[in-house]
Symmetry: C2
Subunit: 335 residues, 2 copies
């Protein structure tokens, strides 16, 4: 009886194992269903296969499986303008009654009159002025509420949907696939870190502590006995271009083995990630699909892809051709 019980126990456990393996195999049959079976997808699968192959020469231990993703144009839409810029312009309109002087003062006048040409001419200086007026002067938690409220109601001018629905389904699958293979996924974006943190966990599965971005200075004060963090009108860190490797080192403290971007702003992140010993994955999303999303590269005001595109072949960076490589662009296109 003892022996028989043992046999049955083994059978039960065996069945459990078989069931578990089957469901796992089924779930993993195609981890990237929204990707066409083109070289881009093959490069991802091959890379993950090699660095997770425990006996192989390219094995990377799980703690070192760090992947960094740009946000604007890599994970969500950045046309006709960066989402955060749309937010800032809306905030200028909301705050205008408190600032009657803006009617005559650039770049605010241009924003209020919808004069995008004059606004563009105000350049980076104008942009910084707008950011300081709309992103500073409140507590950190007040700013979080403002961002959350805005995202709940704002709609993309072309797609008429919340911006958080305009994320790229193939990239969501890619992040999930990497995490299932022991990766820790980080966002490393030129965008404001406190503009992203309120929603990245829900939308991308990336928690606040894995979001690196640009920031303004904050100050801690006890206000009426309550500890408070205030947002100050001063730049703290710009997480773009050569700032990206700096930000990766400062905020993550490890060198990634895979990096995903879409513009020249990601060039240095891809260099830092891939130009070293060991196999690495560098990937650029090339926006080639005017019909389903947008087509832009060298001449674009937002997300210009020029130098990095030229350097891709030499550095063995995979260039994703959205039109060719992605079956669907957005989650809502799925049946």
């Amino acid at each position: 009886m003892k022996s028989r019980r043992f046999t049955l126990a083994v059978a039960v456990l065996g069945l459990t194992v078989v069931f578990a393996s089957t469901s796992r195999a089924f779930a993993q049959s195609d981890p990237l269903p929204s990707w066409n079976d083109t070289p881009a997808k093959q490069a991802i699968i091959a890379f993950v296969g090699r660095i997770t192959n425990a006996g192989g020469p390219d094995f990377v231990a799980p703690p070192d499986r760090i992947a960094t993703f740009d946000n604007d144009g890599t994970l969500w839409v950045e046309q006709p303008m960066y989402v955060q810029l749309a937010f800032a312009l809306d905030r200028v309109k909301v705050l205008a009654p408190l600032h009657p002087e803006w009617k005559e003062k650039q770049p605010f006048k241009a924003v209020l009159e919808g004069d995008m040409k004059t606004l563009a001419e105000s350049g980076e200086k104008g942009l910084v002025e707008i950011i300081m007026e709309t992103h500073a002067g409140m507590t950190v938690s007040e700013f979080t509420s403002i961002v959350t409220d805005w995202l709940a109601t704002a709609r993309h001018p072309r797609f008429k949907r919340p911006y958080t629905e305009l994320v790229y389904q193939p990239m969501l699958e890619l992040m999930t696939y990497l995490r299932a293979n022991g990766f820790k996924t980080f966002i490393v974006s030129g965008g404001g870190v406190e503009f992203m943190r309120p929603w990245t966990d829900k939308v991308y599965g990336v928690p606040p502590e894995q979001v690196v971005g640009s920031s303004i200075k904050t100050k801690f004060v006890m206000r009426d006995g309550i500890p408070t963090l205030f947002r100050l009108p001063a730049v703290n860190f710009i997480d773009d271009k050569a700032g990206k490797p700096v930000g990766i080192n400062e905020y993550i403290g490890r060198r990634p083995i895979a990096a995903f971007g879409n513009s020249d702003g990601d060039l240095e992140m891809l260099q830092w990630t891939t130009m070293t010993d060991g196999i690495r994955l560098g990937m650029l999303i090339h926006h080639t699909d005017a019909e389903r999303e947008y087509a832009y590269d060298r001449q674009s005001h937002f997300g210009r892809l020029d130098v990095a595109l030229d350097l891709a072949p030499t550095n063995h960076w995979t260039v994703v051709d959205m039109k060719r490589d992605w079956k669907v662009i957005f989650p809502f296109e799925k049946q």
Copy 2:
């Protein structure tokens, strides 16, 4: 037969469950064996019990279980001077042959002559000069090697052991206990982040991406076609006092529910962590054991504990009395 198989299967699974619970209960019988059964230990156990009690009013979801730990004097020894200062002074001696002018230039002259009084008189300005000469002017990976090599050979003047052995056993147990209960443990230290990251994972189980600290500026450059991060002689961020809540917000992006410190440098971190709704745990390690470690508080040059000690009762912060509350101080004291 079917029914009997089912019964046996249930029995087998039941046994497995019983076995698992037993071993778990055994492992958890005393998660803090190096703590005496005093109010400090009881406060920790009660706090963890309440915030992990799924049905209870104080439940905190795992992603929000963030605990922050100061390093110097909270996790490892900080007397007779901060370990990083001992490192910097040793580096001055190593680099002296390259700087003949230091023989006549303060504060370097004082370091080379072992004149601690003059060194102390050089104050923060002198300290910054020493840090810039010893912590900048190399790549990030070169600095990591320098730190690692130094820690391998340097010995504490009193205990004659590597500094990484002079960590507090009760705090190691506390970090393990918190992690076993779904916490993510972070270091938030006034010390240099790149001085800590090379060894915190091995010594504390805290990976580089969960270490927040002070930093100098770095710069990304392509040097002979190789991407390189250089350490510059300029302060980037001071993660001390009111800088700690700022650092927590900037680098972690969540508010902790538990914070552990030992000096006035941790005051604002404890305020930010505990002075809010919901139950929180704020703890100060009070060094009261001159025999086994050191006894110091209000008058100490390193790790002064004064204002925070006075504010502890009002804020319900638990003050650990090392002599009374800790059975052992260092791991090597364990049998």
